[in-house]
């Protein structure tokens, strides 16, 4: 049976109880709450017993931050002023000084993007025009640039962003997920396919044999800069698995011994010139 007004009386009973109950407002900061042991509250830097910041601006936290949210500036223990800001983020990361502090060997890195690289702007403009500057064509334009330069130079991406009126972050994001190279490669590039077809046909043996022959691990460049080794899913060997790709030519099916022999022969023949940066794909 429904009694009119019963619901509102039930609600008012709760209100009445709370009205007369003792109040629980804590008089912060006179009263401090009990917090868990590891609670740190506001983020603050730790000081040493002499009252100096313990932070040495070593950038290790900025280097490992996956979303690159950490930006800092300050003085290191030698009194040098350092800044790790966003515009310089990649440059600073490769800074020998930052490497030294992070405990890494402080040699200048190979394969560093060359910000000053000259881009054929007229050619790139022509490529963009050829596609009618439609956003659908972005991947196609990237492909053309990579074919010409071997990677996607940052300046080319900036130019694409400006010409097509697409946000730089959007262009960079699209390039980042497309399997494109964002850094230049050095010398001849040996790619070992690691697709399922190659892997189960013995691709692992090819990789270890070539790694042994060239004396470098995947992702590295040999000391003389003539050979680089990488793995990729994109060789798409299919019926000729397991396969490797040297620059743009695909070889397969290969045994570990054959692959090793193939690369060793190419290394021996002095006639093979290193791949020029602007070389086009051989037919």
């Amino acid at each position: 049976m429904r009694i009119p007004g019963l619901g509102i009386l039930k609600g008012m009973r709760q209100t009445g109880r709370n009205f007369w109950a003792p109040k629980v407002t804590r008089q912060y900061p006179e009263e401090r709450p009990q917090m868990p042991d590891r609670w740190r509250g506001r983020l603050d830097l730790i000081y040493d017993p002499f009252g100096e910041h313990k932070c040495e601006v070593c950038f290790q936290c900025a280097q490992v931050c996956p979303v690159e949210a950490i930006d800092m500036s300050g003085f290191d223990s030698q009194g040098n002023r350092i800044r790790y800001g966003l515009p310089e983020i990649y440059e600073e990361r490769k800074d020998p000084n930052a490497y030294r502090r992070a405990g890494l060997p402080a040699e200048p890195m190979r394969n560093v993007a060359r910000w000053d690289e000259a881009i054929d702007t007229a050619w790139l403009g022509g490529v963009i025009d050829g596609f009618g500057a439609r956003p659908e064509a972005l991947i196609g334009i990237f492909s053309a640039v990579q074919e010409r330069y071997g990677y996607l130079p940052e300046r080319a991406l900036r130019l694409i962003s400006d010409t097509m009126v697409i946000h730089w972050a959007q262009v960079f994001g699209a390039a980042g997920l497309g399997g494109f190279r964002l850094l230049p490669t050095e010398g001849h590039l040996v790619t070992v396919c690691r697709c399922a077809a190659c892997r189960f046909a013995g691709g692992d043996a090819l990789l270890s044999a070539l790694s042994d022959e060239l004396g470098i691990a995947p992702g590295e460049t040999s000391n003389d800069g003539a050979w680089s080794l990488e793995t990729s899913d994109e060789v798409a060997a299919g019926a000729i698995a397991p396969a490797i790709r040297i620059d743009t030519m695909i070889y397969g099916p290969l045994t570990a011994v054959q692959a090793r022999h193939l690369v060793a022969e190419r290394r021996k023949s002095a006639a093979a010139p290193a791949r020029a940066r602007t070389a086009s794909r051989p037919s």
Partner: protein, 456 residues
């Protein structure tokens, strides 16, 4: 067929046997030109759809044939077209998905290289049926031969008034453009493909709304796999009744299968849906040594043991067995293949190819690989097998796209069927297949819970 005269890339070897329909004449240079293709009796499907049947009747024809999406989902093509046709919007788009997400799946690449007009015809039929005025062919960017041939085919078809404005003298117009797409695994997912076509990072979006409702630029968009489109062209050319003659009653027709692994002849075959997996394996000459397991559907599929080798090669039976059709990948393994490291390989591939948008996928696949690494090193945590199952279930529950939901498939199916291999690796540091290097591994003393088939 001799290799030297074939127009296909050397990566694609067509295996004899099966039920070749789409593969008929593939590799013949005549098919690449419009004249040669028309001599083979086609574009009659498009003529029939545009001039005789009209849109509704051609969708009905596809429905009568029972064509299902060949990209792995198995969604009825006619339903998709009907949804796109019924969706409100004055600009509609159809997209041919030739991204070839998994590089081991050769079907779409073979069709695009060997018979571009067949895909184009299917695309135009789809455009006509859904009322689209714009069609986009998205091809993986490293299939350079396929891109060039597809562009040439579009130009030829436009010159012959088979595409472009006023097709075949009717009021149906459809402008076809060919674009390159990136070659990542996730790029083949339909919403990710549409994001990439919009100039964004190629990452999937939440469905619904489905692309047939709101797709490219907010317009109703039909995304179809290249093989599905080729089948649609075949149906309108030869008729629905003819199409149903091959295949199972739930899913008629054929499927292109890429067979690789420990087989005598790796390559591409076309088989009737519903034929036993054992027959498909036999097309590649069978395994060199004793067959151990068949991984159906690539990284998003699962393993069948020799006891299940008679499972019909079809959407539902494979799904019930924990595997999937995928893009037609079929990996054969023999006695010398370690199931634990195979599962780790597939998970690692999913982990590398994860686009990073969904946290359970980006971090979950990584954690699964780490747990399998601990198993392979015989240093598992007591709850590692519980973690593998629990995390896989959570990933499937919270998945943004099917790639994520199905990523743990190879691991779960092998854990159920080859639990003793996992146990030997985890507890004793021994590889039962003798494939992994285990000399340096110190065996574990306490037995672990949760290995083997899940107690349900």
């Amino acid at each position: 067929m001799t290799e030297s005269t074939s127009t296909l890339s050397p990566q694609i070897r067509i295996l004899s046997g099966g039920h070749p329909r789409l593969l008929v004449g593939l590799g013949d240079a005549k098919l690449l030109t419009l004249a040669g293709y028309r001599k083979a009796g086609t574009y009659t499907g498009l003529e029939r759809a545009v001039s005789t049947l009209g849109a509704e009747a051609s969708i009905a024809e596809i429905a009568a044939a029972g064509l299902r999406g060949r990209g792995g989902g198995g969604y009825p093509t006619a339903d998709k077209w009907r949804a796109a046709r019924g969706a409100a919007g004055d600009r509609k788009v159809v997209v041919a998905n030739l991204i070839g997400a998994d590089p081991t799946a050769l079907g779409d690449r073979a069709l695009a290289e060997g018979n571009p007009h067949l895909i184009l015809e299917g695309l135009l039929i789809a455009a006509h049926a859904t009322g689209a005025s714009e069609a986009i062919v998205a091809i993986r960017r490293d299939w350079t031969a396929a891109i060039a041939r597809m562009r040439a085919a579009v130009a030829e078809a436009e010159a012959a008034h088979l595409a472009g404005y006023l097709v075949l003298g009717t009021d149906f117009s459809c402008v076809v453009t060919v674009f390159e797409g990136s070659g990542a695994l996730v790029a083949g997912e339909e919403t990710a493909l549409l994001a990439a076509l919009a100039g964004d990072r190629g990452m999937p979006t939440i469905r619904p709304p489905y692309p047939t409702e709101r797709g490219l630029g907010g317009n109703p968009t039909t995304v179809q796999n290249g093989e599905t489109l080729a089948n649609a062209a075949w149906i309108l050319t030869h008729g629905a009744a003819e199409f149903r003659k091959v295949g199972s009653s739930a899913s008629p027709g054929t499927k292109l299968v890429s067979i690789y692994g420990k087989v005598k002849r790796a390559g591409l075959a076309e088989v009737a849906l519903g034929s036993p997996v054992a027959d498909v394996v036999a097309l590649a000459g069978g395994p060199g040594k004793t067959l151990k397991a068949v991984f159906v559907g690539g990284a998003g599929g699962g393993a069948l043991s020799t006891a299940e080798i008679e499972t019909p090669y079809d959407y539902e039976p494979l799904h019930a067995a924990g595997a999937g059709l995928g893009l037609g990948q079929l990996l054969i393994t023999d006695a010398s293949t370690c199931m634990v490291s195979s599962a780790r390989f597939f998970l690692d591939y999913s982990s590398r190819e994860a686009c990073g948008k969904a946290v359970p996928c980006r971090i979950g696949t990584k954690r699964l690989v780490e747990a399998l690494d601990r198993v392979l090193a015989a240093t598992p945590r007591p709850d590692d097998f519980g973690l593998l199952r629990e995390l896989s279930r959570k990933m499937a529950d919270t998945a943004l796209c099917h790639l994520e939901a199905r990523a743990p498939g190879p691991m779960l199916t092998t854990l159920d069927r080859f639990g003793d291999e996992y146990r030997a690796h985890a507890e004793r540091g021994v590889c039962l297949a003798g494939a992994c290097r285990t000399e340096t591994v110190a065996p574990l003393l306490a037995p672990l819970a949760g290995v083997g088939p899940a107690a349900s």
